[in-house]
Amino acid sequence: MRVALDVMGGDHAPAAPVEAALRAAADHGVDVVCVGAADLVAEHLRRAGGDLPVVDAPDVVGMDEDPVAALRAKPRASVRVACELVAAGEAAAVVSAGSTGATLTAALLALGRAPGVRRPVVAAAIPVEGGRTVVLADAGGSMDVHPDVVGGYAAMARAYAQVLGAPEPRVGLLNVGHEPGKGHAWAKEAFDVLSATSGFTGNIEPAAVLAGDVDVVVTDGFTGNIFLKTLEAAAVPGDGEADTVASLLGVNGEVLVAHGAASAGDIAAALRRAQQVAVAGLAQRISGQMSQAQERRDDG
């Protein structure tokens, strides 16, 4: 299964993504197509003495650009062209270390949303106590969203948690206290929305998330990204290989978001993960669960 890599995305692009593509191909047999400015990519491949397929995409969405406006202005942006390869069936997954907002936007425009999905969500799998994993949604996809999207976030993240091995995932709303009524207006409204969601156990504080008291923690992308980056910053060196890739849930294809500062090793790991989720059909499984939930709502 071929993985499309946005080689123009990330703080160390295109050098790190090109090196990652060559490593993933040589060491792990990942079938990678590099998407980016063809001349530049060819030069980096030549310097590294490697040879991989390249799809030309001359434009880049910068980290400082508004993703929606930039993708309207740059229809040949590398991240969008990479997503279009999946839409056309020419690749099975996308990896980008570029702007998370741009990746979400490109995926939505190129692949479309899964049935019943109001807003796709970036989900990060966080290792917690006892060898368990908590799915964080949203880990940074949408900064300003209406609280009514959190029901969908929870449903998609629960489906992901089930794929990761939790049969009946418990869902918490990240908050400043566990009592109902805590938090700002957004959190209070999100609590009300989540109250009708399967598996919802109430508000949860960060320490309880890390203790593994829930399987899914839901929040807005702004708060979730700060939470994730705080965990990364506080990680003890030598704890093991950091997981710097998240999955975009709720679009019709496999899309993985790598950290902007990702190294070649991180991106190579993301390429391996992309191959795995493509084989597992993560997007299809989540789409199927969302369709079933939609049918239940329609019947009810």
């Binding site: 929606v68 406006a69 993708l71 979400l104 939505l108 425009l109 949303r113």
Partner: protein, 89 residues
């Protein structure tokens, strides 16, 4: 050459896409505000507009929307007027 469309016809296309693309049910009119009434942000708006543009191309039009103005549109009617104006360029 494609037949000229009125703003009302573009409004009808937009409201249809708001329902099918975003799953918004309930009444959507030209006066519906993207933010307050539909809880739709710029990403939702652009997804819907790209879907409308695709439909317009199949009808022989060449849509050319002013993106800056589009992203500042407050109502469905505002967006429809911009799309309609772009058909004449």
């Amino acid at each position: 050459m494609a037949e000229q469309m009125t703003t009302d016809e573009v409004v009808a296309l937009l409201t249809d896409r708001l329902a099918t693309v975003l799953g918004i049910d309930g009444p959507v009119t030209a006066d519906s505000r993207f933010d307050e009434d539909l809880h739709a942000d710029s990403l939702d708006l652009v997804e819907v507009v790209e879907s409308v543009e695709q439909e317009l191309r199949t009808r022989g039009h060449t849509p050319n929307v002013d993106d800056d103005a589009l992203l500042a549109a407050e109502t469905v009617g505002d967006a429809a007027a911009l799309i309609q104006a772009g058909l004449g360029r």
